[in-house]
């Protein structure tokens, strides 16, 4: 009941303030930020009462207050809040890296690599096949020559196989799960994130050959791709070492330090043209494993500092959902979503058999790999930049697919953690974000 009153008060406040105010855009952005923190968090808590993960509540809240419905958070405001999303991604990546212990990487690294390879390969092939089969119905492939059909199908699949480290981390943080399913899912998601950068770059290069872009578009050399990955490891390692030194010798003001590290990591990655997620991931890993046991304090500080940021990040992701696109494209979206999910299931089964994974990991890991969010949106934007017309049509289809996957993904992951016994229903109502 209290949550409903909060939401009603927030609604009344916005209804009263918006017509009266003529302040600067900065003020509007700040107000929307505060509104999203309180509003989305409240909806997230309401979601737990109907046994849904909080993150689904955040997404629903974003959808409700975004341009698709109430428009309290308009498109320009969302653009202004982009740094919040960048900060959230940086914090999530750092926290994900900090979750990885070096002993575990040694012990389970090969297993995770095998599972990831099988899962990505099977789902990738499945999506290519379904796109080629449906190409007459796809606006961006209808009437195109076979070479282009194959090129764009490969490019599409390289984006569609992407997972969501953000959703994975958010659910793990919310539930506190640390069992074999939780750790296998996280490992596969993080490894896949690195692999996807490579496959996407390769797919884009191939499509350029098969279907040269009319406007030329930005050229991506193989050196640039190598630097994006290798440079990220290098930069992340240096950043992590600096953080480890700070933790060993200064270890003060960790709340502020956590935000500064995340901001700095994201900015420096952008400046040096290296992969942001991987940079922060490596930084978190190095800081945790070289920080002399102090990494845990930084993690807690980061989780605390990031709590409002994560809420707004997922609410903004929800606000970007275009229900009209989902409705319009559902005959195409549903087969792709189903084939992707089937590919993930089949791939993890194959990978688990190949790697001789634990039965629980074989049975439940696929459910944690359905989610999609920011990374997929980012890659689809790159495609839209290279191929302005077709890329834009592809992006609309992607957004519709992501809308479904980011809604059902957290629900399935929650279910997998509950069924495997690694989390309890009450743990989803407690802390975390």
């Amino acid at each position: 009941m209290r949550r409903v009153i909060v939401l009603m008060l927030l609604y009344l406040l916005m209804q009263a303030v918006l017509p009266l105010g003529e302040g600067t855009p900065a003020a509007l952005v700040l107000m929307a930020f505060g509104f999203l923190i309180l509003g989305a968090y409240s909806v997230g808590e309401l979601a737990t009462t109907v046994r849904l993960p909080k993150i689904v509540g955040y997404l629903v809240a974003g959808l409700a207050v975004g341009p698709a419905a109430l428009n309290f958070v308009s498109v320009p405001v969302m653009e202004q809040l982009a740094p919040v999303s960048e900060l959230a991604i940086a914090l999530i990546a750092f926290l994900a890296g900090a979750e990885l212990q070096i002993d575990e990487v040694r012990k389970r690294g090969v297993l995770l690599l095998k599972m990831m390879t099988a899962e990505l390969s099977v789902s990738f092939i499945g999506i290519v096949v379904v796109l080629v089969s449906l190409h007459h119905y796809l606006p961006f492939l209808d009437g195109a020559p076979w070479a282009e059909v194959i090129g764009f199908s490969i490019l599409f699949a390289s984006v569609a196989v992407v997972h969501s480290p953000a959703v994975t981390m958010a659910l793990l943080s919310e539930s506190g799960a640390k069992g074999v399913v939780a750790r296998t899912t996280l490992g596969v998601v993080l490894l896949a994130d690195v692999a996807v950068v490579l496959t996407f770059s390769g797919a884009l290069a191939l499509t350029r050959v098969l279907a040269p872009p009319t406007s030329g578009g930005p050229v991506v050399s193989s050196w640039a791709v190598l630097w994006e990955i290798g440079g990220a490891v290098l930069v992340g390692a240096v950043l992590g070492a600096v953080v480890a030194l700070y933790l060993r010798f200064i270890k003060r003001e960790l709340f502020i330090f956590a935000i500064l590290v995340a901001f700095f990591g994201a900015e420096i990655a952008g400046l040096l043209h290296v992969e942001t997620l991987l940079t922060l991931l490596v930084a978190g890993f190095v800081a945790e494993n070289a920080g002399g046991g102090e990494g845990e304090h930084l993690r807690h500080a980061m989780e605390r500092a990031g709590a409002p940021v994560f809420v707004v990040f997922f609410a903004l992701a929800g606000a970007k959902i275009k229900p009209e696109a989902v409705i319009q494209l559902w005959p195409l979206v549903i087969p792709i979503v189903v084939v992707r999910a089937a590919g993930i299931w089949a791939g993890t089964q194959l990978g688990a058999w190949w790697a001789k994974a634990e039965p629980a990991a074989a049975k439940y890991t696929w459910m944690g790999l359905i989610s999609q969010a920011g990374v997929a949106i980012g890659l689809s934007s790159v495609v839209a930049n290279v191929y302005p017309e077709r890329g834009e049509e592809m992006r609309t289809l992607f957004l519709a697919i992501i809308a479904i996957n980011e809604t059902i993904g957290p629900i399935l992951f929650r279910l997998s953690l509950l069924r495997s016994g690694e989390a309890k229903p009450e743990s989803f109502r407690g802390g975390g974000h």
């Binding site: 209290r2 009153i5 909060v6 008060l9 927030l10 406040l13 303030v17 017509p19 009266l20 105010g21 003529e22 302040g23 600067t24 855009p25 900065a26 003020a27 509007l28 952005v29 700040l30 107000m31 929307a32 930020f33 505060g34 509104f35 923190i37 309180l38 968090y41 409240s42 740094p83 200064i250 003060r252 003001e253 709340f255 502020i256 500064l260 901001f263 700095f264 900015e267 420096i268 952008g270 400046l271 989780e303 605390r304 500092a305 709590a307 409002p308 809420v311 802390g431 974000h433």
Partner: protein, 485 residues
């Protein structure tokens, strides 16, 4: 938040990155030096960020462009809101009612005299020097008057850190700092309501009174939302989310309505401290971010400062500094003499209020970011010049004000060995501070110090000097009888 630079440039350093590096480096450097400076030299850190901002800004090096500086607008609004909240958190009613009427009377008179004198001086000088018309001069004059009332608590915090015993003069200063802040924020808040532009979209433009009520309403709603949101939960993570949400929403809404975010969040703070059971946790969370926020705010203030060296502006700044200093010192002295409180308070406690700091910067930024208000740059310059010139010496000013009245107590303490022993138990800085600064030997703190004293006011803390002497004498007699001390 990026600076415009060539897309061909391989190293297009964003303004955000520069700001992060500068703040991180400066913060760490200052943090490591802060306590050393404060303990050894009684210097309040902060003004250097203002200088750093000026150096990085478009006026000097141009590392951060005008557009980039303006893109930090949300942080400025949030920073001012945060400072408003920390001010409001000091007004805990059960503690306020224990303060004597005399203490309040002295504080209110000193505040109002400063407000009136500085406003009058500015109202005369601004049109005389041709900076604004006679009609409009009242607006910046009142703003400068309000800003002049605010004093920094940093000086008192540093000079009396870890101190348990509170003489009447310390209580007076704490009360005066709180009343000063309240008067300053209320005056600015009402001023912004008074000169508010009518929104074009509204059917009937609200009256100034209605704008003032709306400002306070935003604060009350922010406080109410915090409580409803937090419920019975006491986890720090949840506290951060709810507190952050309430501050951001209240300051954002106030800024969007073009009313004062400092006043709105001051009300949020008053609501929170008087209704929340987790006051200590709230203060802890606020304290974690208070100083970094202030540093960022100072840096951004420096970035957007366009100091003028024209005679007229310099004259206004000088007059502001002189009238403010005179008002603080002489209003406090006159009202103390008038109320026959000189034996308890001395005559110079007004000197301890000369330092200006975070609230001054917040109010000045709040005024200067409104293009519809006249001579924002002059108001901003006067306020920042005052912070630059007075904040670093704030602790020394407190010492200068307290020394004559507190020194006799120190002599007494030195003559009573068990009192010394108790006090040395308090903190390692005890002897150092006493030797270097001459401030009365500070014993261990028992709670968070605020403008209105610690959470638990011991009877001795409210005692007059003569009562304290009596208490010391009592303890002599108790010790001789073998009773526990």
């Amino acid at each position: 938040m990026t600076s415009p630079c060539s897309p061909l440039s391989p190293f297009c350093v964003s303004a955000s990155l520069v700001l992060i590096i500068v703040v991180a480096t400066a913060y760490l450097a200052t943090h490591l030096l802060y306590e050393w400076l404060a303990k050894r030299l009684l210097i309040v850190s902060g003004a250097e960020y203002l200088v750093l901002g000026i150096l990085l800004g478009p006026q000097v090096s141009g590392v951060i462009s005008v557009e980039s500086a303006e893109s930090f607008g949300p942080i400025v609004v949030l920073g001012t809101g945060w400072i408003g909240l920390t001010v409001g958190m000091q007004f805990y009613l059960p503690r306020l009612v224990r303060i004597t009427g005399l203490t309040f009377r002295l504080a209110v008179i000193e505040s109002l005299v400063t407000l009136v004198v500085v406003t009058a001086a500015m109202w005369w000088v601004l049109p005389t020097l041709g900076l604004t018309s006679e009609f409009w001069a009242i607006v910046p004059a009142i703003a400068l008057g309000a800003i002049a009332v605010a004093s920094t608590p940093s000086g008192l915090d540093i000079a009396l850190r870890d101190r348990k015993r509170r003489e009447p003069v310390v209580n007076q200063l704490e009360t005066s700092l709180g009343v000063n802040a309240f008067v300053a924020v209320m005056t600015i808040g009402i001023l912004f309501s008074w000169v508010h532009r009518a929104p074009t979209s509204a059917l009937r433009p609200p009256t100034p009174t209605e704008w003032a009520v709306i400002t306070i309403g935003v604060g009350v709603l922010g406080g109410a939302l915090f409580h409803l949101f937090l419920g019975e939960e006491r986890k720090v993570d949840r506290l951060v989310v709810s507190l952050g949400g309430a501050i951001i929403l209240a300051s954002g809404a106030a800024a969007y309505l073009n009313v004062s975010p400092v006043l709105a969040t001051l009300v949020v703070g008053i609501v929170l401290v008087n209704t929340s059971r987790g006051r200590t946790e709230l203060r802890t969370v606020l304290a974690e971010a208070e100083r970094p926020f202030y540093y960022v705010l100072l840096l951004l203030a420096g970035l957007s400062w366009r100091p003028s060296t024209s005679f007229t502006v310099v004259a206004v700044v000088l007059l502001y500094l002189v009238t403010r200093t005179m008002s603080k010192v002489y209003a406090a002295r006159a009202t103390t003499v008038w109320n026959k409180a000189t034996p308890q308070l001395g005559r110079d406690w007004g000197k301890a209020l000369i330092g200006q700091g975070r609230l001054t910067v917040a109010l000045a930024l709040d005024y200067a970011r409104r293009p519809e208000l006249p001579i924002g740059d002059v108001v901003f310059t006067a306020a920042l010049a005052s912070v630059l010139l007075t904040e670093f010496a704030a602790a020394r000013l407190v010492r200068a004000a307290l020394l004559p009245i507190v020194e006799p107590l120190r002599d007494l303490a030195h003559r009573l060995p068990w009192v010394d022993a108790t006090e040395e138990n308090g903190a390692s800085i005890t002897s150092e501070n006493a030797a270097v600064s001459g401030v009365f030997v500070p014993p261990q703190n028992e709670g968070a110090t605020t403008l209105f004293g610690p959470e638990v006011d011991a009877p001795a803390q409210r005692a007059a000097p003569d009562q304290t002497v009596d208490k010391a004498a009592d303890s002599v007699s108790n010790k001789s009888k073998g009773e526990p001390h």
